[in-house]
Symmetry: C2
Subunit: 373 residues, 2 copies
């Protein structure tokens, strides 16, 4: 790629808008030179020009200023996490493949820096998060149409605002989308130490719903149990504890779970199924073990179990934006009240490579990496 | 068991009524001697005194006459099939275990022989089938409360009337209970040569719903294909034909199936899943291969598949009797019109042991065995 083409491409990256595509790139490269308009500051961004291993294909580069058109809002990003799905997108193993070149990141929080002449309801200094579907949050300044930005409560804790749209929203939707859970009911989940798992425990707790949690056998599982119990988990078991015929004997004062969540697969999924009550539903939203789910015929016929799947993508559509915003407010309220907590590590943007390595698991189990711009 | 006790027990078998139980046995053994009332003829029945291999534990015995009380109807049985679930009940491997001693059989058809003084709407000569839940159809005369008997059209073909409540009803419910199928839609199923499978093909056809059918690889599969196509199957494949990456290439003018039925498990279940469209549902109602169902994480998350189970038992309850009767009329209409056909072998009651051996698979693949009393 020649340097002239690249410079047009990079400018295009900043003008891509929500439908960032080859067409957008061509259009914006024609408008080069409109320097009379209000311009954004230059931006520093994590870019990948092709799919591949994230530590190989990503580069931190400077992007030139772009025009802030009358309906645009320029936001100075404050923080954005590195989620597993961000990594999958860069690797190209996600069913939704961003066109390249692309800027990484799918959620985050920022502060309004400047607004176009026709923008209403947003002013410099407002705290905003990009509405799903959004992308390209790994950069210092973003210019996008005002409709993309959602103004949130200024008291929202920044690192939670930056991470509320993917994991907590997944937990909330899974608790609401499949069966009608009432106070006093119970759910069961594996991968309970994941951020979604921790959110499930806390949102369930806030609703009077008991949680039965399954974690891996590993050094430190005793501490992990205590941590989850502090968040409100009713029961926490390691997989090996559950290698008994009747797991339900473990549930003294908790009803049999009507709903189960599986983000592991293999044996850990079978353990969730074992706990479910007659007519229960297991929702799969991840497969950390890379093993499939195996289930007996009689579980379907005589136990009447249902197996479903959850993908947040279904919610990250423009027609769901209003509903999502309401849910985000609810979740940020919980976070502000201290009822929704999970461990994160804020990392200066300058240390992006270290954060990426940690997110890629190169340094063992690490807290969620959140880039601080 | 002494001979006196046995004779009381056998009398009890005939008086057990719909809630046949130890209590009923005791109650009826106290009423021995009411010979002034109208009595049924003696009955010849297939009885088992304990669960076990059907060819070992069943005996054909004579049962003494019983009283036909004012609300009772005495029915001379005409025909009753030997279903796999009947065999499972005798073996004791079915989740619903009949108390023993018990008479075999769960569906059938008969003719009213005599009625109690308070019976309305049923007269000698009427064709009736016992309403689900019923049992003990493998006998020549049955005396039960009038509420149990459902009068059907006298033109109903006897062997279809005898077999309509289990297999055709399963096919009908599975086509209606899970998703809303419209004319032009498609379903996919394995075990398509089973009676349920054949009923699915024909009921679907009658509703303009396409069927994609999967059968085992075995000698004669070519003929089996032709047979199913004559019933209305759009496509029939053997499992080995489907060991390709893209099975959907096989569907030229048929939309991707929204609903799948699995009565086999193992690889045959995976083939059903392969055919299903985004958001499709697979319903498991049997496990002939005795292998579990294995499904990938991505099928749940990205393909949004749902896995469910079907058990007819849910429909065979008193509160569903009215609805079941409506469906039975509909199915018998189809049979009378020649739109619902499947192969059966009518066997004289005297040859019960041969029929049982065939139903147990001792003589290879055989048509459904229907006892003719």
């Amino acid at each position: 790629m020649g340097s002239l083409v690249r410079s047009a491409t990079l400018r295009a990256l900043r003008n891509g808008g929500p439908s960032f595509s080859g067409i957008a790139i061509r259009r914006s490269s024609l408008s080069v030179g409109a320097f009379s308009a209000t311009m954004s500051p230059p931006s520093k961004a994590v870019v990948y020009e092709q799919q591949g291993p994230p530590d190989v294909v990503t580069r931190v580069i400077e992007l030139p200023p772009v025009e802030v058109k009358e309906n645009d809002v320029c936001v100075r990003m404050l923080a954005a996490p590195i989620n597993p799905s961000d990594i999958n997108r860069i690797e190209g193993v996600y069913p939704v493949k961003p066109e390249t070149p692309a800027i990484g990141g799918y959620e985050g929080v920022g502060e309004v820096y400047s607004v176009g002449s026709a923008v209403k309801g947003l002013s410099p200094g407002d705290l905003v998060i990009p509405s799903p579907p959004s992308f390209g949050t790994w950069q210092t300044y973003i210019v996008k149409d005002q409709s993309v930005w959602y103004k949130i409560n200024k008291d929202s804790p920044m690192e939670y605002a930056a991470t509320i749209t993917v994991n907590p929203l997944t937990a909330l939707r899974m608790l609401e989308d499949f069966i009608n859970l009432n106070s006093g009911d119970a759910i069961v989940q594996n991968g309970a130490t994941s951020i979604v798992g921790q959110c499930v425990i806390q949102i369930a707790k806030d609703r009077g719903v008991h949680s039965v949690n399954i974690i891996r056998d590993r050094p430190g599982s005793g501490e992990a149990k205590e941590k989850l119990k502090k968040l409100g988990a009713d029961e926490v078991f390691t997989e090996s504890q559950l290698e008994v015929k009747n797991v339900k004997g473990f549930l003294a004062n908790i009803p049999e779970p009507a709903l189960g969540f599986n983000c592991v697969g293999g044996n850990a999924a079978s353990l969730v199924l074992k706990f479910l009550r007659q007519g229960g539903t297991m929702v799969t939203y991840g497969g950390m073990s890379k093993k499939p789910i195996t289930i007996s015929t009689s579980s379907f016929i005589f136990k009447d179990l249902s197996l479903r799947g959850f993908w947040l993508q279904k919610w990250l559509r423009e027609d769901k934006a209003k509903e999502c915003r309401r849910m985000i407010d609810y979740l940020l309220d919980l976070a502000r009240e201290g009822k929704l907590r999970y461990e994160m590590e804020l990392v200066p943007f300058d240390s992006f490579r270290t954060a990426l390595d940690k997110a890629l698991g190169k340094q063992g189990s690490q807290p969620k990496q959140v880039i601080r711009f």
